[in-house]
Structures are given as structure tokens and as C-alpha cells.
């Protein structure tokens, strides 16, 4: 404990000790003066006479009288006959010495207590400091013990609080959605990694200030919502517009909840629904055209029937539009299926080579296989990836059909699959008109259709490539297109290959089923060489 004394405590103890000593000194001087006053009457020395032992009558005034008495000095100032004064002096001296000692000891103990209390009150180290070392057996010791108990309690609570904080942070970080907390003034106190990813600002950049993701024009509404949270209200499913760091708008489904009664602020969970909202909007619009056809044709039918006119020419149109409606609805439902992440949980070891061949088989039935040229399939054997076979087959079929649609009838579509660096790469190339640079980024958007084919019988619904992208994403891969106008387009899909040794291995499989996409991509990139060796090793052993 003494080692951790602070200068303030040391100074206090010093002051207390000096004070005791000063008081003693003043008392001594006062008593001496008193005795000096009593000695004013004249005296004579009695030479030859032995001084009395015990209470000496002959003393020197001003020198240490005890010393003088011990040496038996016979001469000196004749002190008045005042044994009471001597006793008083003696008692006073002893008292002073005792007071000094006790005072000093008390001061030391008090300083130790003060030091201990100061350490406990300190930012952190308090509870970890040495326990108070006081064995006085009195109230001070009890105070010291109480202080120790208090320190132990604080330490336990502090540890609990830290652990609970760590748990809360881990929980917040494990949420794949942006989670943001703010205090009563609306200043950010927490900004998780998903928020950093979605909005673009780091936590360090936004802590202690108003969220920069709230656009100026939404500021008042955001503050009004926050006021409701501070009043203790929980809100969920609010659709709001926010912005990313690059200024682009982002549509959010927002849930807000107060901390306790709300006076301490609260937190919000953000779900990015930009793409879904857009998808729904466009899907609804896309349904309008065939709907308008069907309802208009039905009205015409009624009129013509009422007028006794022939209706034969309307029936094929009606059939075509209802078929288009049905196809559009199926495509929308399929897109929803991949959007909702229903692919992820079904992942199993899939041979991509076999999947490609199977997709081509189904196209052969459709009578277009002679236009498809295979240029090398991965390693002449299986190429194992973690996947959902049915959507993967759909993806290959869509890419090939798309290429066939956009290339001249006499031009082949070239398909290849390769495995290297832990990645399986599928490419589908056509020799069609190509895609203008301005539209390259948009071809994977839902309902995107080449401007040349919009409304024509040849063009699709604009969901095929979007669904392909969603399928590839769900497998932790990526899809992109390269094209030069007039020189065709090449669609490429990259998927991470399996890292596991045991085809169909149960434990490993279930382990991979959770969050498989990201995990696989990381593994694939980290160990490209091993992945390749492994993939090739499996190729030899498999029966393909």
C-alpha cells in the first residue's frame, strides 16, 4: 500500500504530524512560562547540603531538568517549592509524546484509507489495487474492511459489466444488418460493421455526431421519430430513405427501440430494401402490360358478342397474353425464391461438370444443342463445388439460352469450364450484337431487357440474368460480362471449388451449410494452390 501512496495523501499525513508536534511545542512553552512565573521569589543556595532524592528541590531552569536532576546538581536557580508543577510538566511531556505517536499513526492509517478510497474511485485500477492493510482493531479497521468489501463488489460488477458489454458488442456485430445506437441528443454511440459496409462510413467517423446517413431533407422526420423513441416507444417496419457515403439513396425498413425508458437514447436496425422495393415496383409495372391486354381483350369480346360480331381473331391474342402473364408470374416467383436466400441451406457437393452437361442435355431436347460448342470442360472430370444442383443447372441453361437468343442463327455459342486457383470458371460466349458499354452494368438488374428486344417476341422477361446473378451470389461466386459492340458478349461465372476431402462427408457438410458463401470464397482465395491440387486429386479418384 505504502508504495502506492499519492503525493496528496503524503502531504496530508505530514501536515497532521506537524500539527501534533506544533501543538506539543506550544504547550511545552506555555508550561515553561508558567513555571518561570512561579520562580520569581528570591532564593539561596545551600552548599554542602545533599539534595533530596526523589523529588529534587534544586533544579536548573531552562536545561533538561531530568538530566540535571540525575546528575545531582546541587546548585542552580532555586525553584520554588512546586512539586505539582514538575508533575504537570512530566505528565504534559509524556502526553505530548503519546499524542504525537498516536496522531502520527492515525494520520498514516487515515492516509492509507484515503489512498484506498481514491484508488477505488479512480477510473479502473481501484478494485485491482492492494486491499487496505489495517489491523488496528478499531473503527478505522472496520472502515478499511468495508472499503475492501466495496472494492470487491465494484470489481465484480465492473467485470460483469465488461463481460456483458463484450457480449452485447459480439451480438451487435453478429447481426448481418446495420445496427446503430444513439444517445438522447441523437449522437451516434454505436455503429456496427454491417453499418460501415452498407452506409460507407466507419464507426470512428460517426461516433459522437449525428448520423451522416440521414439526408438533410429527412432530418426533421428523423428527429421526430427519435423523439418518439426517447419517449419510450418502439417502432418497427418504417420505410425511410437514407443515403450512402457516395450520396446514393438507399431505401430502408427501419426498426427503432429505446434503451430502457428511452431517456438514455436507443438503437435502430436497418434493412436495405432498395433492391426489393425496386424489384416489386418494376414487377408490378411489368404485369401491367399483359394485364392491360387481357382486360382490354375481354372488354372487346363482350362488345363484339353483344353486337353479334365474330371474335375469332381475339382468341389467339388472349391466349398469348394469359401465357405471358403466367410466365411472368413464374419468373417473379423464381426470382423471389433466389432473393429470399432459399438456395443457401441446400448446399451439397455438386459436380459442376456434370451440372453443365445435364443442362446441355435438357437443351438438346429443345433442339438447339447443335449450335452449342463445348470448348474444354474442366479437367475432363468432375469439378466439385458446394452448391444446389437445380438452380445451378437453371443458371447454365439461362446463360446458354440467352446467348442463343442474342446471336445469329448460324453462329455457335461457345461454352467452357475450367478449374484453377481454387475457382471453377464457366464462360458462355456468343457472337451476337454485343452489349453497349452504357448497358453493361445494367444487364443483371431485374427486368432489364436489351433496348433492341424490348416488346419483341424474341426478348425475355428481363429476369433471367438477374436470377443467374442471385444464384451465383448464393454460391459465394461472382458473375460478370465482357462485350464489345458488334463482337458478341462473354458471360463468366466464377465459383469456389470444394476444399473438403470427403465427398458427401456429413460433419463437414453441415459445417459448411452455415454461411457457406462467404466462408468458401475466403478459403478459395487464401489457398489457391492447395485448392487446385485437391480439386485435381479428387478428379483422379472420382468415377465421374
Amino acid at each position: 500500500m505504502s508504495g502506492s501512496f499519492r503525493s496528496g495523501a503524503r502531504r496530508s499525513r505530514f501536515r497532521f504530524g506537524v500539527r501534533c508536534q506544533l501543538v506539543g511545542l506550544v504547550l511545552l512553552i506555555l508550561l515553561s512560562l508558567l513555571s518561570a512565573v512561579n520562580m520569581t521569589e528570591p532564593y539561596e543556595a545551600y552548599p554542602g547540603r545533599e539534595p533530596e532524592t526523589g523529588r529534587g528541590r534544586y533544579e536548573l531552569v531552562g536545561a533538561a531538568f531530568t538530566d540535571a536532576s540525575a546528575r545531582g546538581i546541587r546548585t542552580g536557580a532555586r525553584v520554588a517549592d512546586t512539586p505539582d508543577l514538575l508533575i504537570m510538566l512530566l505528565v504534559s511531556g509524556v502526553s505530548l509524546a503519546m499524542a504525537h505517536t498516536v496522531g502520527n499513526r492515525l494520520a498514516r492509517r487515515l492516509a492509507a484509507l484515503q489512498e484506498r478510497a481514491a484508488a477505488i474511485a479512480g477510473p479502473y485500477g481501484g478494485p485491482d489495487a492492494n486491499p487496505a492493510d489495517d489491523a488496528g482493531g478499531d473503527e478505522l479497521e472496520e472502515a478499511a474492511r468495508a472499503l475492501d468489501r466495496m472494492a470487491a463488489r465494484i470489481e465484480a460488477v465492473e467485470k460483469e459489466l465488461l463481460a456483458s458489454n463484450r457480449k452485447f458488442r459480439a451480438l451487435v456485430e453478429s447481426v448481418p444488418l446495420p445496427v446503430v445506437a444513439a444517445d438522447a441528443e441523437g449522437n451516434v454511440t454505436l455503429w456496427n460493421r454491417a453499418a460501415e459496409r452498407v452506409f460507407g462510413w466507419t464507426e470512428a467517423e460517426v461516433l459522437g455526431r449525428q448520423s451522416p446517413a440521414v439526408p438533410d431533407e429527412e432530418g426533421d422526420e428523423a428527429m421526430a421519430l427519435w423523439a418518439r423513441v426517447l419517449a419510450g416507444e418502439s417502432l418497427s417496419g418504417l420505410i425511410v430513405r437514407r443515403r450512402r457515403r457516395d450520396g446514393s439513396p438507399i431505401d430502408i425498413s427501419l426498426s427503432l427501440a429505446p434503451w430502457g425508458d428511452g431517456t438514455q437514447g436507443g438503437l435502430g436496425v436497418f434493412l436495405d430494401i432498395t433492391e426489393r422495393l425496386r424489384f416489386l415496383q418494376v414487377a408490378a409495372h411489368m404485369l401491367r402490360n399483359p394485364m392491360a391486354g387481357v382486360s382490354g381483350l375481354v372488354s372487346l369480346l363482350e362488345r363484339r358478342v353483344a353486337a353479334g360480331q365474330p371474335v375469332g381473331d381475339l382468341v389467339p391474342l388472349l391466349r398469348r397474353d394469359t401465357e405471358r402473364l403466367a410466365a411472368l408470374l413464374s419468373a417473379i416467383l423464381e426470382a423471389f425464391r433466389v432473393q429470399e436466400g432459399q438456395i443457401g441451406p441446400e448446399l451439397e457437393r455438386v459436380d459442376l461438370t456434370g451440372t453443365v452437361l445435364s443442362a446441355l442435355d435438357s437443351l438438346r431436347v429443345a433442339g438447339v444443342a447443335e449450335r452449342i460448342r463445348l470448348e474444354g470442360l474442366c479437367c475432363d472430370g468432375p469439378c466439385w463445388i458446394w452448391g444446389d444442383p437445380e438452380p445451378l443447372r437453371d443458371m447454365v441453361r439461362t446463360l446458354v439460352t440467352n446467348a442463343l437468343t442474342y446471336s445469329p442463327d448460324d453462329e455457335p455459342v461457345v461454352l467452357s469450364l475450367s478449374c484453377s486457383n481454387g475457382l471453377a470458371t464457366l464462360s458462355v460466349a456468343d457472337r451476337g450484337a454485343g452489349i453497349p458499354p452504357s448497358e453493361l452494368d445494367r444487364v443483371f438488374e431485374p427486368f432489364y431487357r436489351s433496348r433492341e428486344l424490348v416488346g419483341s417476341e424474341k426478348g425475355g422477361l428481363g429476369l433471367g440474368l438477374y436470377v443467374c446473378r442471385e444464384i451465383v451470389r448464393a454460391h459465394g461466386g461472382r458473375i460478370w460480362v465482357a462485350s464489345a459492340e458488334g463482337r458478341g458478349a462473354v458471360f463468366r461465372v466464377e465459383l469456389p471449388v470444394c476444399q473438403g476431402e470427403d465427398p458427401g462427408g456429413g460433419a463437414e457438410r453441415s459445417e459448411r451449410r452455415t454461411g457457406a458463401a462467404d466462408e468458401k470464397r475466403i478459403t478459395g482465395e487464401e489457398q489457391p494452390t492447395r485448392a487446385k491440387e485437391r480439386a485435381e486429386g479428387e478428379d483422379e479418384g472420382a468415377d465421374g
Binding site: N289, V294, D321, S456
Partner: protein, 119 residues
Amino acid sequence: MLVIEDEATIALILSEVLREQGHEAVTVSGGAAGLDWLRESPPPDVVLLDLFMPGLGGRDVLKAMRSDPRLKDVPVVLVTGAVPSVEDFPPNGTYQALITKPFDLSDITETIDACLRRR
């Protein structure tokens, strides 16, 4: 009356309704063909224009019409189903009416009548 519409069904419905109303209706598929027809023929009483078409869309056709002295005063009724975004919409004041798909046949007759009355 001119109908610029690339959807065969909609074009058929619109032209039949117009004819029943006693108008003469010409149907052209696509924006570019529509603009060509407009430039080569006497201006029609009303143009029914589909907004979302391959190649030259309704917005482009409308813009070209408004900058052509011969065509700038021809009333235009926009017919629209799929509108991907507000940005695809022509500015207010450049067209006389808007019909959204799906529509009632009476929507067509009433809108056309209103346009003709205003002239």
C-alpha cells in the same frame, strides 16, 4: 388518330375503340416508325403514344414532336404500363393526358373526347 404502340394486343384494342367512336385510326409499331409517319403525313387530331418501347421510346418521340413546328401542337395521350422510374417520364405540360395500363375502354373514349373538345 395515330396509335404508336409496339404491343400488338394494345394496338388492336386502341384502334378498335377509336374506330367504334367514328375516328380513323392508324397503328404504327415502334417509336422510330411512328415519328417517320408523323413527319410524312398530315398531322393527326390526336396521337396515342406508348411510353415504353424498344429503340426510340415514347419520351424521345414526344421530345422530337415538341421541337418540330408542324407537330408541336398535336395533342398527345401517353399510354403507359411499365414505367421503371420517374426519370423515364416526360416533363409535365408536354403531353395532354395519361392513360395507365390496365385501362377501361371507356377511359380511352373519354380521354380522346376531352382532348378533342379542348382543341
